[in-house]
């Protein structure tokens, strides 16, 4: 591979060097952290607002509607207006709630999702931290959010919230298994848990193509299980609005509700990012063997756009699920996991190991 104009590694390193040369190492670290933190906060907010808008537009088109179309052209400022509204809304105090936990819960949910995006590689050299156990870290951190959900349900002192929170607990405990196993399938293929290396391993072909059958099965299982993990789509039992009004966040209002709302969309973004990284080659452009001209054109598109494009496609898939299917019941949810997904997953893992051993993959 020739020199890549989009390689940001050297650019990052030069900033790093500049800071450490001019400042004491402690302050340099602080400044670096602040820059990255602010950048991620901005990114977080923009992505969150965009996804809310996208979801509303997608579901509107599916439902033969127009969707938001009043604030700004095509309603693009609708979510910003909504967010301002949520900021200004009164936070209704719940007298009999457990105040400390009640106030803590939204922060846990949002911090968990915020921590997870730190390890995701958005482009060549464009990630905050490249852990050598990246997958493990992302999985562990992103499932911390359920603690916030459980706390919210418990501390609200509301019967519907409690039922919703308990459902959410049962759901995440079971589906964590499938998410993990489908990730392991890819780890077997890639031979590494470091996210940057997994992406690098897909330079000559995305895993969903090179790993053919088992990778495809793993992808489907990952999509189902991760949709369940984010409490979305047909698996939104924790907030099942027709049964539990709004489930665990029934009692939240104003900005605290906005935190839950934003975290839901960020979680969706995170699982879509993981899916992109593991199965769809991360920020790698689409290359077709033998088509040199085509590959060259593809290389011109910056990796960040490749990455976001793939992620949005995966997110669209999740939205499509949500707006098509009815909701499952709690026992059916668990049945799906333990009766279908887990056996298929284990079988798939063995198949993948076999494929890797016999070098059947491309």
């Amino acid at each position: 591979m020739a020199f890549n104009i989009y390689d940001l590694t050297s650019f990052n390193q030069s900033i790093d060097k500049f800071l450490y040369d001019n400042l004491p190492s402690f302050w340099a670290m602080i400044v670096e952290m602040t820059i990255i933190g602010v950048a991620f906060l901005l990114f977080y907010a923009v992505i969150g607002l965009f996804l809310v808008y996208a979801e509303r537009k997608v579901c509107a088109f599916i439902q033969n509607r127009v969707g938001p179309n009043r604030v700004g052209p095509y309603g693009i400022f609708q979510t910003i207006a909504d967010f301002i509204k949520l900021l200004m809304k009164e936070i209704i105090p719940i007298r009999k709630a457990d105040q400390f936990l009640f106030n803590l819960a939204p922060f846990i949910v949002i911090i968990a999702s915020f921590m997870a995006i730190a390890a995701i590689p958005f482009g060549l050299g464009l990630h905050a931290i490249d852990l050598n156990i990246g997958i493990f870290y992302v999985m562990a951190v992103s499932s911390l959010g359920v603690i916030g959900v459980l706390l919210a349900g418990w501390s609200s002192n509301n019967k519907y919230s409690l039922i919703g929170a308990m459902r959410s607990g049962a759901q995440i405990v079971s589906y964590e298994l499938s998410v993990g196993l489908s990730m392991v399938t890819i780890v077997v293929l890639a031979g590494s848990m470091q996210l940057s290396e997994i992406v690098e391993a897909q330079r000559n072909g995305w895993f969903i193509f090179t790993g053919h059958v088992p990778a495809f099965i793993a992808f489907i299982i990952f999509m189902i299980a991760s949709t369940a993990e984010t409490n979305r789509g047909p698996f939104d039992l924790a907030e099942a609005e027709s049964e539990l009004t709004a489930g665990f966040h029934t009692e939240y209002s104003g900005i605290k509700f906005a935190f839950f709302f934003l975290a839901e969309y960020m979680n969706m973004f995170i699982v879509a990012s993981i899916a992109t990284t593991l199965f769809w080659g991360g920020w790698m452009p689409l290359h077709i063997g033998g088509w040199e001209g085509f590959n060259h054109v593809m290389d011109i598109i910056p990796p960040f756009f490749w990455y976001m494009g793939k992620t949005l496609v995966v997110i669209f898939l999740m939205m499509w699920f949500k707006w098509t299917f009815p909701r499952l019941r709690i026992d059916q949810l668990l049945k799906l996991e333990w009766k279908y997904l887990l056996p298929v997953n284990l079988f798939n893992l063995i198949l993948m190991a076999l494929v890797v051993l016999m070098k059947w993959h491309f």
Partner: protein
């Protein structure tokens, strides 16, 4: 073996039904022509209600500010909700006879259930339904309307009142 076949059948059959459902929603996603939303306040100019639409009761006046109501009160008697009040006055004619004439035709839009009986029973066809449907007001008192215009009078050549009720 049968159990495994059944298991797989169940699995793939289930996936197939899910894909069928997704094909329906997917079809509409890529066919924005199927959108049926009406852009309401914008299409006010072109929005036309059907002729028979029961918007509110009105009393048509002709160019001479004349209406057809003889103040016979049949509509008032027939209204199930008491939303019509016909207030009449005795007017002395040139020939010395006194005649009952409409003073105020009061219509309580807030109590009206749009059953259409008043219009059906009116022997003179003096009241009709108009097609206006934007009834929202900030003050409830505005919903009590006077249907005859100020200074209006009875149109001549009105047939004799039929015996209805």
């Amino acid at each position: 073996m049968n159990a495994i076949i059944n298991y797989l059948k169940e699995l793939f059959g289930g996936i197939k039904t899910l894909l069928t459902g997704m094909s329906v929603t997917g079809y509409y996603f890529v066919h924005p022509k199927a959108i049926i939303t009406q852009q309401y306040p914008e299409n006010r100019k072109t929005l036309k209600m059907f002729d028979r639409f029961k918007g509110e009761v009105t009393m048509p006046h002709d160019e001479n500010n004349q209406h057809k109501c003889t103040a016979c009160s049949i509509c008032e008697i027939n209204c199930p909700n008491g939303s019509i009040e016909v207030i009449s006055k005795q007017v002395e004619k040139e020939d010395g006879k006194t005649k009952k004439e409409l003073d105020i035709y009061k219509y309580h839009l807030d109590m009206c259930t749009f059953c259409g009986i008043c219009i059906k029973v009116c022997p003179q066809d003096a009241i009709i339904f108009s097609q206006g449907f934007e009834h929202a007001v900030f003050n409830k008192a505005k919903l009590i309307k006077t249907l005859n215009k100020p200074g209006s009078s009875l149109k001549e050549k009105v047939k004799e009142v039929k015996e209805v009720i």
